[in-house]
Protein backbone atom coordinates (compact mmCIF):
# COMPACT_ATOMS: atom_id res chain seq x y z
CA UNK A 1 0.00 0.00 0.00
CA UNK A 2 2.71 2.43 1.06
CA UNK A 3 4.95 1.52 -1.86
CA UNK A 4 2.17 2.61 -4.23
CA UNK A 5 1.98 6.00 -2.48
CA UNK A 6 5.72 6.51 -2.48
CA UNK A 7 7.05 5.80 -6.00
CA UNK A 8 10.56 4.71 -6.80
CA UNK A 9 11.70 8.27 -7.54
CA UNK A 10 10.61 9.43 -4.10
CA UNK A 11 12.29 6.45 -2.47
CA UNK A 12 15.49 7.32 -4.35
CA UNK A 13 15.17 10.92 -3.20
CA UNK A 14 14.75 9.79 0.41
CA UNK A 15 17.80 7.55 0.10
CA UNK A 16 19.96 10.39 -1.24
CA UNK A 17 21.72 12.19 1.65
CA UNK A 18 21.87 15.33 -0.52
CA UNK A 19 18.09 15.68 -0.62
CA UNK A 20 16.68 18.58 1.38
CA UNK A 21 13.68 17.53 3.53
CA UNK A 22 11.15 19.97 4.98
CA UNK A 23 8.18 19.18 7.19
CA UNK A 24 5.25 21.61 7.23
CA UNK A 25 2.81 21.43 10.11
CA UNK A 26 -0.04 23.42 11.60
CA UNK A 27 -0.71 23.86 15.29
CA UNK A 28 -3.70 24.82 17.37
CA UNK A 29 -3.42 28.51 16.46
CA UNK A 30 -3.63 27.63 12.76
CA UNK A 31 -0.25 29.15 11.96
CA UNK A 32 1.77 27.09 9.44
CA UNK A 33 5.30 26.14 10.38
CA UNK A 34 8.05 24.66 8.21
CA UNK A 35 11.24 23.08 9.50
CA UNK A 36 14.03 21.20 7.75
CA UNK A 37 14.36 17.66 9.09
CA UNK A 38 17.35 16.01 7.44
CA UNK A 39 16.86 12.87 9.52
CA UNK A 40 13.59 12.14 7.67
CA UNK A 41 13.84 8.66 6.19
CA UNK A 42 11.88 5.69 4.91
CA UNK A 43 11.14 2.92 7.38
CA UNK A 44 11.10 -0.75 6.55
CA UNK A 45 7.31 -0.78 6.96
CA UNK A 46 6.85 1.86 4.25
CA UNK A 47 6.15 4.72 6.67
CA UNK A 48 8.39 7.72 7.19
CA UNK A 49 10.16 8.68 10.39
CA UNK A 50 12.35 11.48 11.65
CA UNK A 51 14.31 12.24 14.82
CA UNK A 52 13.01 15.15 16.86
CA UNK A 53 15.76 16.56 19.00
CA UNK A 54 13.86 19.33 20.76
CA UNK A 55 10.87 18.58 22.98
CA UNK A 56 9.34 22.04 22.81
CA UNK A 57 10.02 22.71 19.11
CA UNK A 58 7.07 24.07 17.16
CA UNK A 59 7.15 21.05 14.85
CA UNK A 60 6.96 18.67 17.82
CA UNK A 61 4.04 20.58 19.32
CA UNK A 62 2.28 20.71 15.97
CA UNK A 63 2.75 16.99 15.41
CA UNK A 64 1.22 16.30 18.83
CA UNK A 65 -1.67 18.54 17.80
CA UNK A 66 -1.93 16.67 14.49
CA UNK A 67 -1.99 13.18 15.99
CA UNK A 68 -4.51 14.32 18.61
CA UNK A 69 -6.94 15.87 16.15
CA UNK A 70 -6.38 13.80 13.00
CA UNK A 71 -4.60 16.49 10.95
CA UNK A 72 -2.17 15.80 8.12
CA UNK A 73 1.28 17.23 7.55
CA UNK A 74 3.11 18.12 4.35
CA UNK A 75 6.62 16.95 3.55
CA UNK A 76 8.70 18.46 0.75
CA UNK A 77 11.79 16.91 -0.78
CA UNK A 78 14.27 18.70 -3.06
CA UNK A 79 16.94 16.51 -4.62
CA UNK A 80 20.44 17.73 -5.55
CA UNK A 81 19.34 17.79 -9.22
CA UNK A 82 16.38 20.09 -8.31
CA UNK A 83 13.61 17.51 -8.52
CA UNK A 84 10.87 18.28 -6.03
CA UNK A 85 8.37 15.93 -4.39
CA UNK A 86 5.56 16.45 -1.95
CA UNK A 87 4.19 13.88 0.48
CA UNK A 88 1.03 14.27 2.50
CA UNK A 89 1.36 12.33 5.72
CA UNK A 90 -0.54 11.43 8.84
CA UNK A 91 1.31 11.19 12.19
CA UNK A 92 0.89 7.57 13.20
CA UNK A 93 2.79 7.31 16.48
CA UNK A 94 5.60 8.89 18.42
CA UNK A 95 8.33 6.87 20.07
CA UNK A 96 9.59 8.43 23.27
CA UNK A 97 10.78 5.35 25.16
CA UNK A 98 11.43 1.65 24.70
CA UNK A 99 13.73 -0.56 22.65
CA UNK A 100 13.03 1.06 19.30
CA UNK A 101 13.52 4.56 20.66
CA UNK A 102 16.75 3.47 22.30
CA UNK A 103 18.10 2.23 18.96
CA UNK A 104 17.43 5.65 17.40
CA UNK A 105 18.79 7.49 20.43
CA UNK A 106 22.04 5.54 20.34
CA UNK A 107 22.42 5.90 16.58
CA UNK A 108 21.74 9.64 16.66
CA UNK A 109 24.35 10.17 19.35
CA UNK A 110 26.90 8.03 17.53
CA UNK A 111 26.37 10.08 14.39
CA UNK A 112 26.05 13.55 15.86
CA UNK A 113 27.88 13.51 19.17
CA UNK A 114 26.45 14.69 22.48
CA UNK A 115 22.93 15.48 21.40
CA UNK A 116 19.65 14.55 23.04
CA UNK A 117 16.75 12.93 21.25
CA UNK A 118 13.27 13.83 22.33
CA UNK A 119 11.19 11.63 20.07
CA UNK A 120 10.99 9.68 16.84
CA UNK A 121 7.88 10.55 14.85
CA UNK A 122 6.39 7.91 12.56
CA UNK A 123 4.38 9.40 9.69
CA UNK A 124 2.17 7.39 7.37
CA UNK A 125 2.20 8.68 3.76
CA UNK A 126 -1.33 9.12 2.41
CA UNK A 127 -0.52 10.87 -0.89
CA UNK A 128 2.49 12.01 -2.89
CA UNK A 129 3.26 13.87 -6.07
CA UNK A 130 6.19 15.32 -8.01
CA UNK A 131 6.58 19.04 -7.57
CA UNK A 132 9.38 19.87 -10.02
CA UNK A 133 8.51 22.98 -11.98
CA UNK A 134 8.83 21.51 -15.47
CA UNK A 135 6.73 18.52 -14.55
CA UNK A 136 4.07 20.65 -12.87
CA UNK A 137 3.97 23.11 -15.84
CA UNK A 138 3.34 20.28 -18.27
CA UNK A 139 0.57 18.92 -16.06
CA UNK A 140 -0.94 22.39 -15.68
CA UNK A 141 -1.02 23.13 -19.39
CA UNK A 142 -2.55 19.75 -20.11
CA UNK A 143 -5.20 19.98 -17.43
CA UNK A 144 -5.94 23.73 -17.65
CA UNK A 145 -5.19 24.88 -21.21
CA UNK A 146 -7.28 28.02 -20.74
CA UNK A 147 -5.10 29.33 -17.93
CA UNK A 148 -2.24 30.73 -20.06
CA UNK A 149 -1.08 34.11 -21.35
CA UNK A 150 -2.11 34.51 -24.97
CA UNK A 151 1.12 36.14 -26.12
CA UNK A 152 2.85 32.82 -25.48
CA UNK A 153 0.44 31.04 -27.79
CA UNK A 154 0.41 33.28 -30.89
CA UNK A 155 2.44 32.23 -33.90
CA UNK A 156 4.32 35.52 -33.94
CA UNK A 157 4.53 36.13 -30.24
CA UNK A 158 7.11 33.52 -29.35
Amino acid sequence: MMSAILGEEIKRALADPGTVRAVATVGKDGAPHIAFKQSLRLRGDGNLEYDEGIETSQTNKNLVYSIWFGKTVSISLLTPDRCGYNIVGRPLRVLIAGREFRTHYTAAREERGDIDLSAVWVIEPVASYEQSFDKRRQEEEAAHPLLQHLDRLTVTGQ
Binding site: G27, K28, K61, N62, V64, Y65, I67, W68, F69, L92, R93, V94, L95, I96, A97, G98, R99, F101, R102, H104, Y105, T106, R109, L117, A119
Partner: protein, 415 residues
Protein backbone atom coordinates in the same frame (compact mmCIF):
# COMPACT_ATOMS: atom_id res chain seq x y z
CA UNK B 1 -18.58 -5.66 37.43
CA UNK B 2 -19.53 -2.16 38.43
CA UNK B 3 -21.25 -1.32 41.70
CA UNK B 4 -24.02 0.33 39.71
CA UNK B 5 -25.18 -1.64 36.66
CA UNK B 6 -26.84 1.48 35.23
CA UNK B 7 -23.91 3.83 35.53
CA UNK B 8 -23.67 4.30 31.75
CA UNK B 9 -27.14 5.80 31.66
CA UNK B 10 -26.23 8.42 34.25
CA UNK B 11 -23.30 10.10 32.54
CA UNK B 12 -22.05 11.04 29.07
CA UNK B 13 -20.17 8.27 27.27
CA UNK B 14 -16.58 8.49 26.06
CA UNK B 15 -17.63 9.33 22.51
CA UNK B 16 -20.13 11.93 23.69
CA UNK B 17 -17.49 13.63 25.85
CA UNK B 18 -15.00 13.64 22.97
CA UNK B 19 -17.62 15.27 20.73
CA UNK B 20 -18.63 17.82 23.37
CA UNK B 21 -15.04 18.97 24.01
CA UNK B 22 -13.46 19.19 20.53
CA UNK B 23 -10.60 21.34 21.87
CA UNK B 24 -9.45 18.63 24.30
CA UNK B 25 -7.21 15.82 23.04
CA UNK B 26 -9.22 12.62 22.50
CA UNK B 27 -6.10 10.74 23.61
CA UNK B 28 -6.14 12.49 26.96
CA UNK B 29 -9.87 11.90 27.35
CA UNK B 30 -9.42 8.18 26.64
CA UNK B 31 -6.49 7.98 29.04
CA UNK B 32 -8.52 9.68 31.75
CA UNK B 33 -11.42 7.29 31.38
CA UNK B 34 -9.16 4.24 31.36
CA UNK B 35 -7.46 5.43 34.55
CA UNK B 36 -10.87 6.08 36.09
CA UNK B 37 -12.32 2.70 35.16
CA UNK B 38 -9.25 0.46 34.93
CA UNK B 39 -8.64 -2.42 32.53
CA UNK B 40 -9.01 -6.18 32.27
CA UNK B 41 -6.78 -8.18 29.92
CA UNK B 42 -8.17 -10.82 27.57
CA UNK B 43 -6.34 -14.10 27.08
CA UNK B 44 -5.06 -12.84 23.71
CA UNK B 45 -3.77 -9.66 25.36
CA UNK B 46 -1.97 -11.68 28.02
CA UNK B 47 -0.50 -13.96 25.36
CA UNK B 48 1.07 -10.85 23.82
CA UNK B 49 3.00 -10.15 27.02
CA UNK B 50 6.67 -11.10 26.92
CA UNK B 51 8.02 -10.95 30.48
CA UNK B 52 11.54 -10.61 29.11
CA UNK B 53 10.53 -7.38 27.38
CA UNK B 54 7.48 -6.02 29.15
CA UNK B 55 7.16 -4.73 32.68
CA UNK B 56 5.00 -7.09 34.73
CA UNK B 57 6.23 -7.33 38.30
CA UNK B 58 6.32 -4.14 40.33
CA UNK B 59 7.07 -3.22 43.90
CA UNK B 60 6.41 0.37 44.86
CA UNK B 61 4.62 2.36 47.55
CA UNK B 62 1.21 1.37 46.16
CA UNK B 63 2.06 -1.93 44.51
CA UNK B 64 3.46 -5.35 45.20
CA UNK B 65 2.68 -7.44 42.14
CA UNK B 66 4.45 -10.41 40.60
CA UNK B 67 1.80 -11.70 38.18
CA UNK B 68 2.25 -11.58 34.40
CA UNK B 69 -0.23 -8.81 33.63
CA UNK B 70 1.40 -5.69 32.18
CA UNK B 71 2.09 -2.94 34.68
CA UNK B 72 0.61 -0.38 32.34
CA UNK B 73 0.05 1.04 28.87
CA UNK B 74 1.30 3.67 26.44
CA UNK B 75 -0.77 5.32 23.70
CA UNK B 76 0.32 6.19 20.14
CA UNK B 77 0.98 9.82 21.10
CA UNK B 78 3.40 8.77 23.88
CA UNK B 79 0.83 9.30 26.63
CA UNK B 80 1.16 6.93 29.57
CA UNK B 81 -1.91 5.35 31.10
CA UNK B 82 -1.27 4.39 34.70
CA UNK B 83 -3.64 1.50 35.23
CA UNK B 84 -1.53 -1.11 36.93
CA UNK B 85 0.03 0.23 40.08
CA UNK B 86 -2.70 -1.13 42.28
CA UNK B 87 -3.60 -4.20 40.25
CA UNK B 88 -5.82 -4.08 37.24
CA UNK B 89 -9.53 -4.55 36.84
CA UNK B 90 -10.61 -5.73 40.24
CA UNK B 91 -9.44 -2.55 41.87
CA UNK B 92 -11.86 -0.43 39.86
CA UNK B 93 -15.21 -1.66 40.95
CA UNK B 94 -17.19 1.56 40.73
CA UNK B 95 -17.57 1.19 36.92
CA UNK B 96 -16.91 -1.53 34.33
CA UNK B 97 -13.28 -1.60 33.25
CA UNK B 98 -12.07 -1.38 29.66
CA UNK B 99 -10.77 -4.53 28.01
CA UNK B 100 -7.28 -4.79 26.59
CA UNK B 101 -7.48 -7.16 23.62
CA UNK B 102 -5.63 -8.03 20.41
CA UNK B 103 -7.47 -7.13 17.19
CA UNK B 104 -5.88 -7.41 13.72
CA UNK B 105 -2.53 -8.03 15.38
CA UNK B 106 -2.66 -4.83 17.42
CA UNK B 107 -3.07 -4.42 21.17
CA UNK B 108 -6.15 -2.26 21.62
CA UNK B 109 -8.53 -0.85 24.20
CA UNK B 110 -12.06 -2.17 23.79
CA UNK B 111 -15.30 -0.99 25.39
CA UNK B 112 -18.62 -2.73 24.78
CA UNK B 113 -17.11 -4.51 21.78
CA UNK B 114 -15.82 -1.33 20.13
CA UNK B 115 -12.12 -0.81 19.48
CA UNK B 116 -11.21 2.52 21.09
CA UNK B 117 -7.47 3.01 20.48
CA UNK B 118 -4.21 1.16 19.99
CA UNK B 119 -1.88 0.81 23.00
CA UNK B 120 1.43 -0.84 23.85
CA UNK B 121 2.81 -2.33 27.05
CA UNK B 122 5.42 -0.60 29.17
CA UNK B 123 8.88 -2.11 28.72
CA UNK B 124 11.19 -3.45 31.39
CA UNK B 125 14.45 -1.58 32.12
CA UNK B 126 17.87 -3.20 31.88
CA UNK B 127 18.54 -3.14 35.66
CA UNK B 128 15.38 -5.01 36.59
CA UNK B 129 16.70 -8.57 37.08
CA UNK B 130 19.97 -7.55 38.73
CA UNK B 131 20.77 -7.53 42.45
CA UNK B 132 22.62 -5.06 44.63
CA UNK B 133 25.91 -5.89 46.40
CA UNK B 134 23.79 -6.68 49.46
CA UNK B 135 21.85 -9.24 47.42
CA UNK B 136 18.64 -7.22 47.17
CA UNK B 137 16.73 -7.57 43.89
CA UNK B 138 16.92 -4.17 42.23
CA UNK B 139 13.27 -4.33 41.22
CA UNK B 140 12.44 -4.30 44.95
CA UNK B 141 14.27 -1.01 45.32
CA UNK B 142 13.47 1.23 42.34
CA UNK B 143 10.22 0.99 40.36
CA UNK B 144 10.23 2.24 36.77
CA UNK B 145 7.81 4.17 34.65
CA UNK B 146 8.65 4.43 30.94
CA UNK B 147 11.01 7.36 31.55
CA UNK B 148 11.18 7.76 35.32
CA UNK B 149 12.94 6.00 38.18
CA UNK B 150 10.71 5.92 41.27
CA UNK B 151 12.13 5.51 44.75
CA UNK B 152 9.84 4.91 47.72
CA UNK B 153 12.11 4.66 50.75
CA UNK B 154 9.32 4.54 53.36
CA UNK B 155 6.68 2.08 52.21
CA UNK B 156 4.34 2.62 55.14
CA UNK B 157 2.98 5.93 56.44
CA UNK B 158 3.21 7.13 60.02
CA UNK B 159 -0.21 8.76 59.78
CA UNK B 160 -1.72 5.28 59.43
CA UNK B 161 -0.14 4.35 62.76
CA UNK B 162 -2.45 6.80 64.53
CA UNK B 163 -6.08 5.64 64.31
CA UNK B 164 -8.13 7.93 62.11
CA UNK B 165 -5.14 9.83 60.71
CA UNK B 166 -4.70 8.10 57.32
CA UNK B 167 -5.85 9.82 54.11
CA UNK B 168 -9.21 8.28 53.21
CA UNK B 169 -8.45 7.60 49.51
CA UNK B 170 -5.04 6.04 50.23
CA UNK B 171 -4.09 2.35 50.05
CA UNK B 172 -0.42 2.59 50.98
CA UNK B 173 -0.87 1.07 54.40
CA UNK B 174 -3.19 -1.67 53.11
CA UNK B 175 -0.66 -2.65 50.42
CA UNK B 176 2.15 -2.61 52.99
CA UNK B 177 0.29 -4.88 55.38
CA UNK B 178 -0.78 -7.25 52.58
CA UNK B 179 2.76 -7.96 51.43
CA UNK B 180 6.23 -8.71 52.63
CA UNK B 181 7.84 -5.37 51.90
CA UNK B 182 10.34 -3.84 54.31
CA UNK B 183 9.10 -0.62 55.88
CA UNK B 184 12.30 1.24 54.99
CA UNK B 185 14.58 0.63 52.02
CA UNK B 186 18.34 0.58 52.38
CA UNK B 187 20.09 3.69 51.06
CA UNK B 188 23.05 1.78 49.66
CA UNK B 189 20.67 -0.49 47.74
CA UNK B 190 18.89 2.55 46.33
CA UNK B 191 22.03 4.37 45.19
CA UNK B 192 23.49 1.21 43.62
CA UNK B 193 20.25 0.53 41.77
CA UNK B 194 19.99 4.08 40.47
CA UNK B 195 23.62 3.95 39.33
CA UNK B 196 22.90 0.74 37.43
CA UNK B 197 19.66 2.10 35.94
CA UNK B 198 21.40 5.22 34.66
CA UNK B 199 23.63 3.08 32.44
CA UNK B 200 20.69 2.43 30.11
CA UNK B 201 20.84 4.96 27.26
CA UNK B 202 17.78 6.95 26.27
CA UNK B 203 15.45 5.67 28.98
CA UNK B 204 15.25 7.91 32.04
CA UNK B 205 14.48 11.61 32.19
CA UNK B 206 13.70 11.97 35.87
CA UNK B 207 14.45 10.53 39.31
CA UNK B 208 11.49 10.65 41.62
CA UNK B 209 11.22 10.07 45.33
CA UNK B 210 8.20 9.78 47.54
CA UNK B 211 6.96 7.67 50.40
CA UNK B 212 4.91 7.66 53.52
CA UNK B 213 5.30 10.31 56.17
CA UNK B 214 8.01 9.85 58.81
CA UNK B 215 7.02 12.01 61.76
CA UNK B 216 10.08 11.55 64.00
CA UNK B 217 13.27 13.50 64.57
CA UNK B 218 14.34 16.50 66.64
CA UNK B 219 11.78 18.61 64.82
CA UNK B 220 8.59 17.20 63.31
CA UNK B 221 9.47 15.49 59.97
CA UNK B 222 13.26 15.66 60.49
CA UNK B 223 13.37 11.88 60.20
CA UNK B 224 11.69 12.05 56.78
CA UNK B 225 13.94 14.91 55.68
CA UNK B 226 17.11 13.11 56.77
CA UNK B 227 15.99 9.96 54.95
CA UNK B 228 15.57 11.83 51.66
CA UNK B 229 18.74 13.88 52.08
CA UNK B 230 20.74 10.73 52.71
CA UNK B 231 19.45 9.11 49.51
CA UNK B 232 19.60 12.25 47.39
CA UNK B 233 23.14 13.02 48.50
CA UNK B 234 24.22 9.59 47.25
CA UNK B 235 22.42 10.05 43.94
CA UNK B 236 23.72 13.60 43.56
CA UNK B 237 27.26 12.24 43.61
CA UNK B 238 26.37 10.22 40.49
CA UNK B 239 25.84 13.58 38.75
CA UNK B 240 29.11 15.08 39.95
CA UNK B 241 27.37 17.10 42.64
CA UNK B 242 25.25 19.04 40.16
CA UNK B 243 21.49 19.59 40.22
CA UNK B 244 19.71 17.00 38.06
CA UNK B 245 16.14 16.43 36.77
CA UNK B 246 14.42 15.11 39.86
CA UNK B 247 11.31 15.47 41.97
CA UNK B 248 10.51 14.80 45.59
CA UNK B 249 6.99 14.50 46.92
CA UNK B 250 7.17 14.70 50.69
CA UNK B 251 5.11 15.79 53.63
CA UNK B 252 5.23 19.61 53.60
CA UNK B 253 8.58 20.61 55.09
CA UNK B 254 9.21 23.85 56.99
CA UNK B 255 11.23 26.66 55.43
CA UNK B 256 14.37 25.59 57.32
CA UNK B 257 13.91 21.99 56.25
CA UNK B 258 13.33 23.00 52.63
CA UNK B 259 16.49 25.12 52.67
CA UNK B 260 18.53 22.20 54.00
CA UNK B 261 16.99 19.87 51.39
CA UNK B 262 17.80 22.25 48.55
CA UNK B 263 21.29 23.19 49.65
CA UNK B 264 22.58 19.75 50.55
CA UNK B 265 21.32 17.80 47.52
CA UNK B 266 20.95 18.14 43.73
CA UNK B 267 17.16 17.92 43.92
CA UNK B 268 15.62 20.09 41.18
CA UNK B 269 11.93 20.24 42.02
CA UNK B 270 9.66 19.84 45.01
CA UNK B 271 6.09 18.73 45.59
CA UNK B 272 3.92 18.47 48.68
CA UNK B 273 0.46 17.16 47.88
CA UNK B 274 -2.54 19.00 49.26
CA UNK B 275 -4.73 16.17 47.85
CA UNK B 276 -7.93 18.26 47.94
CA UNK B 277 -8.28 22.02 47.51
CA UNK B 278 -10.70 22.84 50.28
CA UNK B 279 -9.89 23.39 53.97
CA UNK B 280 -12.82 21.55 55.50
CA UNK B 281 -12.55 18.65 53.03
CA UNK B 282 -8.79 18.49 53.67
CA UNK B 283 -9.56 18.13 57.40
CA UNK B 284 -12.07 15.34 56.69
CA UNK B 285 -10.13 13.46 54.00
CA UNK B 286 -6.54 14.00 55.23
CA UNK B 287 -6.94 14.14 59.03
CA UNK B 288 -3.30 13.38 59.81
CA UNK B 289 -2.00 16.14 57.56
CA UNK B 290 -4.63 18.53 58.90
CA UNK B 291 -3.90 17.80 62.56
CA UNK B 292 -0.12 18.11 62.29
CA UNK B 293 0.39 20.85 59.70
CA UNK B 294 -2.99 22.22 58.65
CA UNK B 295 -4.34 23.39 55.31
CA UNK B 296 -3.17 27.02 55.40
CA UNK B 297 0.28 26.17 56.74
CA UNK B 298 0.63 23.47 54.04
CA UNK B 299 -0.03 26.12 51.42
CA UNK B 300 2.42 28.53 53.09
CA UNK B 301 5.10 25.87 52.97
CA UNK B 302 4.50 25.40 49.24
CA UNK B 303 4.88 29.14 48.71
CA UNK B 304 8.12 29.08 50.71
CA UNK B 305 9.31 26.20 48.54
CA UNK B 306 8.91 28.46 45.49
CA UNK B 307 11.29 30.97 47.10
CA UNK B 308 13.86 28.22 47.55
CA UNK B 309 13.45 25.96 44.49
CA UNK B 310 12.25 28.64 42.08
CA UNK B 311 9.07 29.29 40.12
CA UNK B 312 8.12 26.36 37.90
CA UNK B 313 9.93 23.92 40.18
CA UNK B 314 7.20 23.47 42.79
CA UNK B 315 3.79 21.92 42.44
CA UNK B 316 1.10 20.24 44.48
CA UNK B 317 -0.97 17.21 43.58
CA UNK B 318 -4.65 16.66 44.09
CA UNK B 319 -6.54 13.39 44.03
CA UNK B 320 -9.01 14.80 41.58
CA UNK B 321 -12.55 13.75 42.36
CA UNK B 322 -12.32 13.13 46.12
CA UNK B 323 -13.87 16.55 46.61
CA UNK B 324 -17.11 14.83 45.57
CA UNK B 325 -16.85 12.02 48.13
CA UNK B 326 -19.91 11.77 50.32
CA UNK B 327 -21.33 12.71 52.73
CA UNK B 328 -19.10 15.74 53.27
CA UNK B 329 -17.99 16.48 49.70
CA UNK B 330 -19.57 18.86 47.21
CA UNK B 331 -23.09 17.91 46.20
CA UNK B 332 -22.68 18.71 42.51
CA UNK B 333 -19.84 18.44 40.00
CA UNK B 334 -20.47 22.05 38.98
CA UNK B 335 -19.94 23.26 42.54
CA UNK B 336 -16.83 21.09 42.98
CA UNK B 337 -15.33 22.32 39.73
CA UNK B 338 -15.87 25.99 40.47
CA UNK B 339 -14.42 25.71 43.98
CA UNK B 340 -11.43 23.56 43.02
CA UNK B 341 -10.42 25.70 40.03
CA UNK B 342 -10.82 28.89 42.05
CA UNK B 343 -8.49 27.60 44.75
CA UNK B 344 -6.08 26.23 42.12
CA UNK B 345 -5.96 29.73 40.61
CA UNK B 346 -5.09 31.26 43.99
CA UNK B 347 -2.34 28.70 44.65
CA UNK B 348 -0.94 29.05 41.13
CA UNK B 349 -0.79 32.84 41.51
CA UNK B 350 1.95 32.14 44.10
CA UNK B 351 3.98 30.16 41.54
CA UNK B 352 2.85 26.70 42.62
CA UNK B 353 1.53 24.44 39.87
CA UNK B 354 -1.52 22.31 40.62
CA UNK B 355 -1.68 18.88 38.99
CA UNK B 356 -4.49 16.37 39.23
CA UNK B 357 -4.36 12.59 39.52
CA UNK B 358 -7.41 10.60 38.48
CA UNK B 359 -9.00 9.23 41.64
CA UNK B 360 -9.43 5.48 41.51
CA UNK B 361 -11.73 3.99 44.10
CA UNK B 362 -9.76 1.18 45.70
CA UNK B 363 -10.93 -1.69 47.88
CA UNK B 364 -8.13 -1.06 50.38
CA UNK B 365 -9.09 2.53 51.11
CA UNK B 366 -11.56 4.09 53.54
CA UNK B 367 -13.33 5.48 50.45
CA UNK B 368 -13.76 2.00 48.92
CA UNK B 369 -17.52 2.36 48.60
CA UNK B 370 -17.44 5.80 47.00
CA UNK B 371 -18.02 6.53 43.31
CA UNK B 372 -15.62 8.70 41.35
CA UNK B 373 -17.01 11.61 39.27
CA UNK B 374 -18.06 11.52 35.64
CA UNK B 375 -15.55 11.54 32.80
CA UNK B 376 -16.83 14.96 31.82
CA UNK B 377 -15.88 16.31 35.25
CA UNK B 378 -12.31 15.12 34.81
CA UNK B 379 -12.06 16.62 31.33
CA UNK B 380 -13.29 20.01 32.52
CA UNK B 381 -10.96 19.92 35.51
CA UNK B 382 -7.92 18.97 33.43
CA UNK B 383 -8.69 21.72 30.93
CA UNK B 384 -9.14 24.21 33.76
CA UNK B 385 -5.85 23.34 35.46
CA UNK B 386 -3.99 23.60 32.15
CA UNK B 387 -5.58 26.98 31.46
CA UNK B 388 -4.62 28.28 34.91
CA UNK B 389 -0.96 27.39 34.36
CA UNK B 390 -1.04 29.13 30.98
CA UNK B 391 -2.62 32.20 32.62
CA UNK B 392 0.30 32.47 35.06
CA UNK B 393 2.90 31.33 32.49
CA UNK B 394 3.85 28.55 34.88
CA UNK B 395 6.04 25.81 33.40
CA UNK B 396 5.16 22.24 34.27
CA UNK B 397 8.31 20.63 32.84
CA UNK B 398 8.95 19.14 36.29
CA UNK B 399 5.76 17.05 36.13
CA UNK B 400 5.07 16.76 32.40
CA UNK B 401 3.65 13.81 30.45
CA UNK B 402 6.95 11.91 30.45
CA UNK B 403 7.24 11.83 34.21
CA UNK B 404 4.31 10.78 36.41
CA UNK B 405 1.92 10.10 33.55
CA UNK B 406 -1.09 10.31 35.83
CA UNK B 407 -1.93 13.98 35.21
CA UNK B 408 -4.33 14.55 32.28
CA UNK B 409 -3.90 18.30 32.75
CA UNK B 410 -0.14 18.22 32.19
CA UNK B 411 -0.67 16.05 29.10
CA UNK B 412 -2.69 18.96 27.70
CA UNK B 413 0.30 21.26 28.21
CA UNK B 414 2.17 19.50 25.39
CA UNK B 415 0.79 21.85 22.73
Amino acid sequence: MSNDRNWREKERSLSEVIRKYPDVSPFVIIKTDVQRRGVLYTEKALAAVDPDIHLTKLRSDYSNKEDLTPVSLTMRDGTSINVGDEGSGDAHSDRDPYQVDVVDGKIVLVDEGNVIEEVSYWEKPDYYEKVTSRGTPMWHVVSPRPQRLCIHPHQQCDFWKTPGYGCKFCTMSAVYHAGNKPELLNTQDIVETVAEALKEPGRNVNIFLTGGTLRGGKNFLDEELDCYIDILAGITRLFGGKRFPSQLISTAFSREQLRRLHDSTGLASYTADLEVLNKSLFEWICPGKAATIGYEEWKNRLYEAVEIFGRGNVDTGIVAGVELAQPNGFQTEEEALESTLSEADEISSHGVGVVGCVWKVHPGSVFRKQTSPSLEYYVRLARGLDQIRRKYNLSIDMDNYRRCGNHPDTDLSRI
